[in-house]
């Protein structure tokens, strides 16, 4: 009996447990069904288009959002081929998507395009997932599609605006660079033009001065002749006392001095060609330097020479060339009252021989530079103002060129070009 009672009791417990389990299942199902209802509400009311299609591409579920987005009502949509929503350019993409889902590959969200009932092309953000039946067998594809057309347009506008901005900036930068380049080029051209103009003005001025000097030589030499001749004639008078004779001699000597000045002036306006013969300018410079070396050394001025080897000869009068070198190095010495160094170098510059004489002296300002070749222009207390005029005349007479670079307190560099073939250098 006891055993029977015990058995019944256990049976009761078993039934109770089963009932409890059934109740729990029921509760879980209810909860699940409630969740499904909630989800169904969410799906139904969502603004996103949520659809289900089978693997043949027929639409089997269609929410309100899909209706709003694509313009088909549920009745029209159900059973409709998904290809109605797929633009021609995206059909292949859709087929590939289906293939991958059936094959069990993971497919993430991506951007694609759909076509609405009225033909509008929509940009959508598509999230897809495989739908399975109660047995776990795949039966279709659920997709959520969010219309991003407006956002895309906005993004494109923003992107376009950014691109335009970048392009504008690039154009502005390029224009700025172009402007800077053009400005630099213009400034360079302007500087060259000013230099050329200045050289032209100087050259014209010197040419008219040359003519003036030649005319003056004739006009002054005649009266000088009369003065000098009369002084000489008077000196023949034996009755004159020594003092008067001395005065007449002074008149005669001063006339000769004036004549020499005129001769030197004529060297500026139209120097003769002198004794033309092939000249080794290195050797000629060296002989001038040797002559002056000791005297310059007393003023603490050293001379350094750097000669190019194997230079061709220049056909010219050596005395004239040495007069040029003598004048230029003497000026360099005078520009360095505290002493310093004069660097002389020679080189071949195209069809010209170039000699450069550089000092570290007091230099010259632009006003002085503009007048250095004018006869009688001098900055020295005891200068005649003829040295550089003569240099100019000699170099010009050879179709050569002489050029000064100088700045106050920065020294002076003189360059002379002597044509090997007789053409003026383009500098």
């Amino acid at each position: 009996m006891e055993d029977k009672a015990k058995g019944e009791y256990l049976e009761q417990i078993k039934l109770l447990k089963k009932r409890i389990a059934e109740l729990e299942i029921s509760d879980s199902e209810r909860k699940q069904q409630r969740d499904i209802r909630f989800l169904a509400t969410v799906v139904r009311d969502s603004d996103d288009a949520i659809t289900i299609q089978d693997f043949e591409g027929r639409i089997t579920a269609w929410n309100r959002g899909a209706g709003q987005m694509y313009g088909y009502n549920e009745k029209e949509a159900l059973g409709m081929s998904i290809e109605h929503l797929t633009p021609p350019g995206n059909v292949a993409e859709h087929k590939e998507l289906t293939r991958r889902l059936i094959a069990g590959e993971a497919v993430t969200s991506f951007e694609t395009r759909r076509v609405a009932k009225d033909g509008r092309i929509l940009d959508v953000w598509l999230t897809v997932t495989k739908v399975m039946d109660d047995t776990g067998k795949p039966i279709g594809i659920a997709s959520t599609e969010r219309d991003i057309t407006e956002r895309k347009k906005a993004e494109e506008k923003l992107s376009q605006a950014l691109e335009d901005e970048i392009r504008s900036r690039e154009i502005a930068t390029s224009m700025l660079e172009d402007n800077n380049r053009i400005r630099e080029e213009l400034e360079r051209k302007l500087k060259e033009l000013k230099q050329t103009q200045s050289m032209l003005v100087q050259s014209e001025k010197l040419a008219s001065l040359g003519k003036l000097v030649a005319d003056m030589a004739h006009e002054v030499n005649n009266p000088l002749m009369i003065i000098s001749g009369n002084a000489q004639l008077s000196l023949l008078d034996g009755s004159l006392n020594e003092e008067l004779k001395n005065n007449l001699r002074i008149i005669h000597e001063e006339c000769n001095r004036a004549k020499n000045i005129i001769q030197r002036l004529l060297m500026f306006s139209r120097p003769g060609r002198g004794e033309q013969k092939p000249l080794d300018i290195n050797r000629s410079i060296e002989s001038v330097v040797k002559l002056l070396e000791h005297q310059f050394g007393l003023s603490n001025v050293k001379m350094s020479l750097q000669f190019a080897k194997g230079l061709p000869r220049v056909v010219m009068d050596e005395k004239q060339f040495q007069e040029v070198v003598m004048n230029l190095v003497s000026n360099a010495r005078d520009a360095m009252p505290e002493g310093g160094e004069i660097a002389i170098n020679t080189s071949l510059d195209g069809a010209y021989l170039k000699a450069e004489i550089k000092d570290s002296g007091v230099g010259m300002d632009d006003m002085t530079l503009a007048r250095i070749f004018e006869p009688f222009f001098t900055t020295k207390e005891k200068g005649t103002g003829l040295g550089l005029s003569i240099c100019y005349g000699i170099i010009k007479g050879l179709n050569g060129k002489i050029q000064f670079d100088s700045r106050p307190q920065k020294g002076t560099t003189v360059r002379i070009w002597l044509p090997i073939a007789g053409e003026a250098p383009h500098v």
Binding site: A214, A217, H218, E219, V220, N221, N222, L224, M225, I226, I227, S228, G229, N230, Q232, L233, L236, C255, N256, K259, I262, Q263, L266, R270, G272, R273, G274
Partner: protein
Amino acid sequence: MRKKILIVDDEPDFVQLLSIRLKSSGYDVISASDGENGLKKAQEEKPDLVILDVLMPKINGFELCKRFKENESTKDVPLIMLTALAQEHDLSKGLQEGVDCFITKPFNAVDLLQEIETAMQDKK
């Protein structure tokens, strides 16, 4: 017999000065103030030497030299050219035209007298 020198120059002061100096040195002096007259006087007076200037009215010194050399009666007369021009190309042009000597003003009278002597000697 005293030698005769013709001076052709348009500067009367200079002509006077040079005349005094030459006369004091034993020469007879005649003068002309331009090239045309100079040529005429040379043909008439047959000077032993001509001193001439370059820049003169009517005929300049170079042209005058040329005409002296072209004329039979004057072609052998020594010519000394005195000029204030003093430039190398003038010198070569003068020598080209047959000038015997070229002297630049102002000059030393002693040098001129020396040149006159030499030129006359050479023509003997």
